[in-house]
């Protein structure tokens, strides 16, 4: 396996608040990696830095052998980084298929090809029956899937999923888990931020735990959930004693 994404000593400060401090992680091609940690651990910040929503205060981000630290989000998308947003950001006045076409247009300017690609992706995500519905008329779980579909239409090498499984019913999240597996099976590497441990742990090949802006631990999911440091980070010292 080769490294697809690497962050080297990435630090992000917001007016005195250190959201990420010296974070170095790497993601191998073909992996599903979970990025977990309690609230305020800096998961979303790290995601935004990788996706290019803003530039890190210090450190470099290397994607596919290239330093992308200075590249804006749109160019990173062209390089093959796709993302979803924690707070869903659909194009509300556009239909579902139109939302996805926007993503597909990164790879082609021929409208017929973009449209065909969009239909394929919608079918893959189980949204094809809703293609001509306005995005604003979708229910929340469908909007999540639309976010994934839109990102997939850009044909990413790396897909960043920001809490796509959070807040869904058990049936919906199970379908989400299957979708993520199928995405990986098509050769896309997945890095996902998730809150809900019991959903994400069976899914990921490797888990990286962030706490207070730093990498606390990384390893196999089964080991990570048993680690006293992780339990302390999530639940506090009192519970760690027993573990």
């Amino acid at each position: 396996m080769t490294i697809l994404l690497e962050t080297r000593n990435v630090t992000q400060r917001f007016a005195g608040l250190v959201a990420n401090s010296n974070v170095s992680i790497s993601v191998q091609r073909g992996e599903i990696v979970g990025l977990i940690g309690p609230n305020g651990a800096g998961k979303s910040t790290l995601f935004n830095l990788i996706a290019g929503a803003f530039r890190p205060t210090e450190g470099t981000i290397v994607f596919d052998g290239e330093d992308v630290t200075a590249l804006p989000a749109a160019e990173r998308c062209q390089r093959g980084i796709g993302r979803t947003f924690q707070v869903v950001k659909s194009f509300e006045s556009m239909t579902v298929i139109e939302n996805v076409i926007v993503g597909a247009l990164v790879r082609t300017t021929v409208m017929r090809d973009a449209r065909r690609k969009a239909h394929q992706v919608l079918a893959f995500c189980g949204l094809d029956a809703r293609a001509d519905v306005l995005a604003s008329d979708l229910v929340p779980s469908e909007k999540r899937r639309l976010e994934v579909a839109r990102a997939l239409a850009t044909e990413p090498k790396l897909l960043l999923l920001d809490e796509v499984l959070t807040g869904l019913t058990p049936v919906e999240s199970q379908k989400g888990v299957e979708l993520v597996r199928r995405v990986r099976d098509t050769g896309v590497t997945v890095l996902m931020v998730e809150h809900v441990m019991e959903i994400v742990m069976p899914l990921v090949d490797r888990a990286i735990v962030l706490d207070l802006g730093k990498v606390l631990l990384e390893g196999k999911p089964a080991d990570v959930v048993r680690d006293p440091k992780v339990i302390t980070a999530y639940l506090g010292d009192r519970h760690a004693v027993g573990a």
């Binding site: 996706a51 929503a53 804006p72 989000a73 749109a74 998308c77 062209q78 796709g82 993302r83 947003f85 950001k89 659909s90 194009f91 509300e92 006045s93 556009m94 298929i97 139109e98 076409i101 926007v102 993503g103 247009l105 990164v106 300017t109 409208m111 017929r112 973009a114 449209r115 065909r116 239909h119 189980g126 029956a129 809703r130 293609a131 001509d132 519905v133 008329d137 229910v139 779980s141 469908e142 839109r150 990102a151 239409a153 850009t154 919906e172």
Partner: protein
């Protein structure tokens, strides 16, 4: 589904061609010069509003300063003709290119602003340019420019005896503006613009270069509006800063689109066909003492629209929800 989409696109094109054909026949039956004048203005505002709609409707960058480009088009055409003898046809194109360039130069700083701040910037810049022209002696300052009338000719685009040539030119302009919109709507640019309007952050994450999208929309929009301005200069054959760059033009470009449906293909034309005759007629019927009644009509219409049809009048013609779009519950369960 692709076929349904292609069919709808084709149907739009056919309907537009039929409407244009019908419109072309109207002067055969309406000989009254006063009504012909209203028709010319209606078509011109349809074209202007359609052009405004590209930047403000599709791309979502509300401009209330498009009078600037209208004025630049009018002045470029008039100045090139009166000072250098350049035919208005070239003048209109030159005005368009200058306006597109100005739009991009102004866009460079202004497109970093969002929402209300952008709107205010457009108003202020247009007003400043108006003041500059009022004090620019070479361009006639506040007195303006009178375009000397010669023989009626398509070459100099001057017609003292008949309104018909203006009518057909305005019709062609409206058709071009419509067709450009139609064509761009199903292109990368069209999708980029709408994505930028709905959510710039999400657009950026999908590879849309937000800044370039806005610049492109501004350039196309300004070009077309300036051609309309050049036409207007020839049509009225006398221009001064207030009469081509005044704030009312910015409003008159925005209102038809708002009334008919902002960011839609048919909205601006529909809005113009209702709004312009209505205001022109109320102005003439109420007469001299009724100055401002047309503005009351505008205001009343906008209030009525925002209460009853916030999406604009075109939403009356909107497609019914498709039968194969399954209801929400079912889709979730499957």
């Amino acid at each position: 589904m692709d076929q349904a989409f292609a069919q709808r696109r084709r149907r739009d094109l056919i309907v537009a061609a039929c409407l244009a054909g019908l419109a072309a026949l109207v002067p055969l039956f309406v000989k009254d010069v006063y009504y012909q004048n209203i028709m010319v203005l209606t078509l011109m505002y349809a074209a202007l509003s359609q052009s405004w709609n590209i930047l403000s409707g599709y791309c979502g960058q509300i401009s209330l300063g498009h009078a600037l480009y209208f004025g630049l088009g009018a002045y470029t055409t008039a100045l090139l003709y009166t000072k250098f003898g350049v035919l208005p046809w070239f003048g209109m194109v030159a005005g368009g290119l200058i306006s597109a360039l100005v739009a991009m130069v102004l866009g460079y700083p202004c497109f970093r602003l969002r929402g209300h701040y952008f709107v205010i910037a457009t108003i202020v810049i247009a007003e400043i340019t108006l003041l500059l022209f009022q004090n620019w002696d070479w361009a006639g300052a506040a007195l303006g420019i009178t375009i000397p009338m010669k023989r009626d000719s398509w070459l100099t685009f001057q017609f003292a005896r008949s309104k018909l040539p203006y009518f057909y030119f305005a019709l062609a302009l409206a058709c071009i503006a419509w067709f450009v919109t139609w064509w761009l709507e199903d292109s990368k640019w069209g999708y980029w613009w709408r994505a930028v309007k709905d959510n710039p952050d999400a657009a950026e994450s999908l590879g849309v270069v937000v800044f370039n999208s806005k610049m492109g929309a501004a350039a196309v929009s300004a070009f077309l509006v300036a051609v309309g301005g050049g036409f207007y200069a020839q049509f009225v054959s006398y221009i001064d800063p207030e009469s081509v760059m005044g704030f009312q033009f910015s409003l008159l470009m925005a209102l038809p689109a708002v009334l008919g449906g902002i960011g839609t293909l048919w909205g601006p034309a529909l809005g113009a066909v209702i709004l312009i005759p209505l205001t022109e007629l109320t102005r003439s019927y109420i007469g001299g003492s009724g100055r401002g009644v047309d503005l009351i009509v505008y205001g009343g219409l906008i209030i009525a629209i925002s209460l009853a049809r916030p999406q604009g009048l075109v939403s009356l013609f909107a497609r019914k929800p498709k039968a194969d779009a399954r209801p929400v519950r079912e889709a979730v369960a499957s």
